[in-house]
C-alpha cells in the first residue's frame, strides 16, 4: 500500500531523461529542453529514461551499452529515429517528433506503476578492467611502481609539466562519445592533473550536423535571402543555447532557444538577449580570453571561428544579392572564446537585419556555386572536419575553460542530408510560408 502511494507520487515527478545525442539527434534535444514536465539530466545516473535520439554507428554500440547500463533500475529506453540495439529488439521506437514528449511521459508513468519492467542489463556485472595490481596492496611489488589496478597504471610520466611542476598525480581517461558536455560523437583520450588538462588526443570525430534544406537549395539556384539568414540565426542561437546551459545560465539558455524556435524571430529579442548576456557575466566568467586559435588553425576551423580571429572569409561578400543589401563583413581580432561568442551574437543580429531588409525588397541569392553555411564557406568543397585541432588547443586549460572553449567551437563536419530529411524540426513549415510570402 505504502509502496503504491510512493510510486503514484513518483509518477508525478518531471520525467528525468538522459539524452544520447546520436547522428542528427540534436533537434529532439532542443525540442525537449522547451517541454514542460521533461527534465534533461546531465548524468545517466539521474535519469529514468534513456533517450537515444538519432542513429549510433555500430562501432560505438559498446559505448552505448555502457551508458545504458549506468541507468539505475527501474529505467526504460526510447529510440527516436534510431534502430534499437539487437538485445533490446522489443524496445519502443518512435519517429514522430510530435509524439516524443507524450511517449516519454507515458513510459515514465508505466515504469512507476510497474506496468513496464525495467530494461535489462546488457553487460556482465564485472569490473571493466580486470584487477592487475601487483603485490599485497595492489600498487606493485617493487617500490611504488608496477601493476595496473583498475586499468590505471601508476603515474610515471616525467614529461614537462604545464603549470605547477608536479607531474605525478596525472589521471588518464577516455571521454565520449556520449558525454553531454562534448559535441555529440566526439571522443578523446585525456590526461588530467586535478582539473587541468595535460594532454588531449581526439579519437573520434563529432557526428555530422544537418543544416536546413535552404542551404542545399542555395547550391541549386537562387533562394530568398530572408529565409536563409533566419535559418542561419536559428542555427547560431541553438549553439548559444548549448553553451549557456553548460555555463549554468539556464534561464538565458532557454531564452536563446525560444528565440531560435520563434517563427517571428526579430532583432529586438536578440538585442534583449545580448543585454542580459552582458549583465549575467557570461563574458567575464565563462567566455573569457581562453582557447585562442592562431591564424592557421582559425582558418582551418572556418566560419565564425575564422572571422572571430580576423580572417575576412565569408561567401556572402561574393554574392551580388548580399552586396545589394549592403552586406558588411564583420570580424573580431582576438580569436578566443569571448571573441567567438561576440562574433556569433553580432552575426545573428546582422542576419536578422539582412533578413528584414531582404524580405522588404524580396532579394534572392545570385550565385549558386557556393553558399556561406553557418559552419563556414561551402564552395567547391565542404567545410572540413577540424576536431583534431583540439589536441593543441585544450592542453593547459582547466576543465571549465576547456568545456567553454569546446562549446564555442563548431568543429563537426556537415551532413550530406538536410535537417528536414533527417526527421527535422517542426519549424520548417514556417520557413516555407515565409519564403512563399
Amino acid at each position: 500500500m505504502a509502496v503504491s502511494w510512493l510510486s503514484r507520487l513518483a509518477a508525478q515527478a518531471s520525467v528525468p531523461v538522459f539524452p544520447v545525442r546520436g547522428l542528427h539527434g540534436e533537434e529532439a534535444f532542443y525540442q525537449l529542453a522547451l517541454t514542460p514536465g521533461i527534465e534533461l539530466v546531465d548524468s545517466p545516473r539521474h535519469a529514468s529514461i534513456l533517450l537515444v535520439a538519432g542513429g549510433v554507428p555500430p562501432d560505438q554500440h559498446d559505448a552505448l551499452r555502457r551508458v545504458h547500463d549506468q541507468l539505475p533500475a527501474p529505467f526504460a529506453t526510447l529510440w527516436y529515429c534510431s534502430e534499437p540495439l539487437a538485445e533490446l529488439a522489443s524496445a519502443t521506437r518512435l519517429d514522430d517528433p510530435g509524439a516524443l514528449p507524450g511517449a516519454l511521459m507515458t513510459i515514465h508513468r508505466e515504469l512507476m506503476s510497474g506496468k513496464r519492467g525495467s530494461s535489462p542489463r546488457l553487460l556482465p556485472d564485472e569490473p571493466p578492467n580486470p584487477w592487475e595490481g601487483l603485490g599485497d596492496d595492489g600498487h606493485g611489488g617493487e617500490g611504488m611502481m608496477g601493476g595496473v589496478p583498475y586499468g590505471r597504471p601508476m603515474a610515471m610520466n616525467m614529461t614537462d609539466d604545464l603549470r605547477d611542476g608536479l607531474t605525478l598525480d596525472s589521471l588518464t581517461v577516455i571521454l565520449g562519445p556520449f558525454l553531454p558536455m562534448l559535441p555529440p560523437g566526439l571522443s578523446a583520450k585525456v590526461t588530467l592533473q586535478g582539473d587541468l588538462i595535460q594532454s588531449w588526443t581526439t579519437r573520434g570525430a563529432p557526428y555530422p550536423i544537418a543544416l536546413e534544406s535552404l542551404f542545399f537549395q542555395a547550391l541549386q539556384g537562387p533562394v530568398p535571402i530572408a529565409a536563409l539568414e533566419r535559418a542561419r540565426a536559428r542555427y547560431h542561437l541553438k549553439r548559444l543555447h548549448f553553451a549557456l546551459r553548460l555555463a549554468g545560465l539556464d534561464r538565458l539558455a532557454l531564452e536563446a532557444l525560444r528565440l531560435a524556435f520563434d517563427s517571428h524571430l526579430s532583432l529586438k529579442g536578440v538585442a534583449i538577449l545580448r543585454r542580459r548576456l552582458m549583465r549575467s557575466g557570461f563574458f567575464r566568467l565563462t567566455a573569457t580570453g581562453q582557447g585562442r586559435l592562431d591564424e592557421e588553425t582559425a582558418r582551418r576551423a572556418g566560419g565564425v571561428a575564422a572571422r572571430a580571429a580576423g580572417h575576412e572569409e565569408d561567401w556572402r561578400s561574393e554574392d551580388e544579392g548580399y552586396r545589394q543589401l549592403g552586406f558588411l563583413l564583420l570580424t573580431q581580432r582576438q580569436g578566443d572564446t569571448a571573441a567567438r561568442w561576440r562574433q556569433t551574437l553580432s552575426e545573428v543580429e546582422q542576419s536578422l537585419q539582412l533578413a528584414a531588409q531582404a524580405e522588404h525588397e524580396a532579394v534572392h541569392t545570385q550565385r549558386s556555386d557556393g553558399v556561406e553555411t553557418p559552419r563556414g564557406t561551402w564552395h567547391r568543397q565542404w567545410p572540413e572536419e577540424a576536431s583534431d585541432l583540439l589536441d593543441d588547443l585544450l592542453p593547459g586549460l582547466e576543465w571549465d575553460e576547456a568545456m567553454s572553449t569546446l562549446a564555442s567551437l563548431d568543429l563537426a563536419p556537415l551532413s550530406p542530408w538536410s535537417l528536414e530529411e533527417t526527421g527535422g524540426a517542426p519549424i520548417t513549415q514556417d520557413i516555407g510560408e515565409e519564403s512563399r510570402a
Binding site: 589521471l171 558536455m181 555555463a247 549554468g248
Partner: protein
Amino acid sequence: MILDELILPVLLVIVVLVVGAYLVAVLDEAIAGALGMPRATSVWTAPLAQGAWLLTQQANATEAPDWRAWRLAPALYLALAAIGLAVVPFSPTLIPTDLVTSVVLWGSVEALATVVIFLHGWSANTLLALIGAYRYVALGLSYILISMFVLIGVALPAESLQFSQVVASQEGLWNVIRQPLGLPLFLIVGLGMTFWGPLNLADSRDLARGTASAVSGPPRLVWNLARAAMLVPSAARRRAPSWAAG
C-alpha cells in the same frame, strides 16, 4: 530532565531541518518557475514527487568506489546541517544547544563540510565527481576564510563565542548596521557551501553534476536533502538578530 534537555531539542532540530529543507526546495522551484523554466507540476508537490521518485530508484554502483565514504558522505553532510542548526538561537529562550563556543562550532561545521563534500566526490572513483571534489576544496577553503572574518566580526563586539551572547549584544545596535559587509558576505558563503544557484560550481553542469554525478536513488535523495538543509542554518543564523530588538 531528559525530556527537556535531550528529546525536545533533537525533535526541534529535526522538524526545522525537514520543514526548512522542504521550503528551500519549494522556493528553488518557485524561483526557477519565475525565471521562465518550463514546468508541469505545482511547486508544492514537485520536491515531494522528486523525492518519491528517488526512493523508488535503485542506488547504483561505480567501479571500486570507497563504499563506506561514498554512502556516509551524504549522511554526514546532513548531520553537519543538523549540528549547525542545533546552535541557532530561535528565540531568547528557545535554543537547542547553547554551547559557550557555538561560533567556533559553526566554523568547524564549515571546515568539516569541505571534507565531507570532497569525500563525496573522491570516493565515487570517477573523473567528473573527482573534479567536482577538487573544485570544492579550492573554493571551500576560501569560503572558510571569508566566514572566519565575519564570525570574528560578530564575536568581538559581543565579547563572547556564544551565539546567544552575540544576539544579546545587538540589542542596542544591529550588526547589520555595525558591519554592513557581514550579512552579504555570510549569505554568499551560505550559497557557496551548499553550491546553490550561481555558486553551484562543485555540482555544476559542465561536470554532469560533479560530486553528485555518480549517485542515484536514496543516497542522492539524502545528498539533495542535506544541501537544502544546510541552507537552513546558514539563513537562520542571520535572521536571529531581527527578534533581538523587536
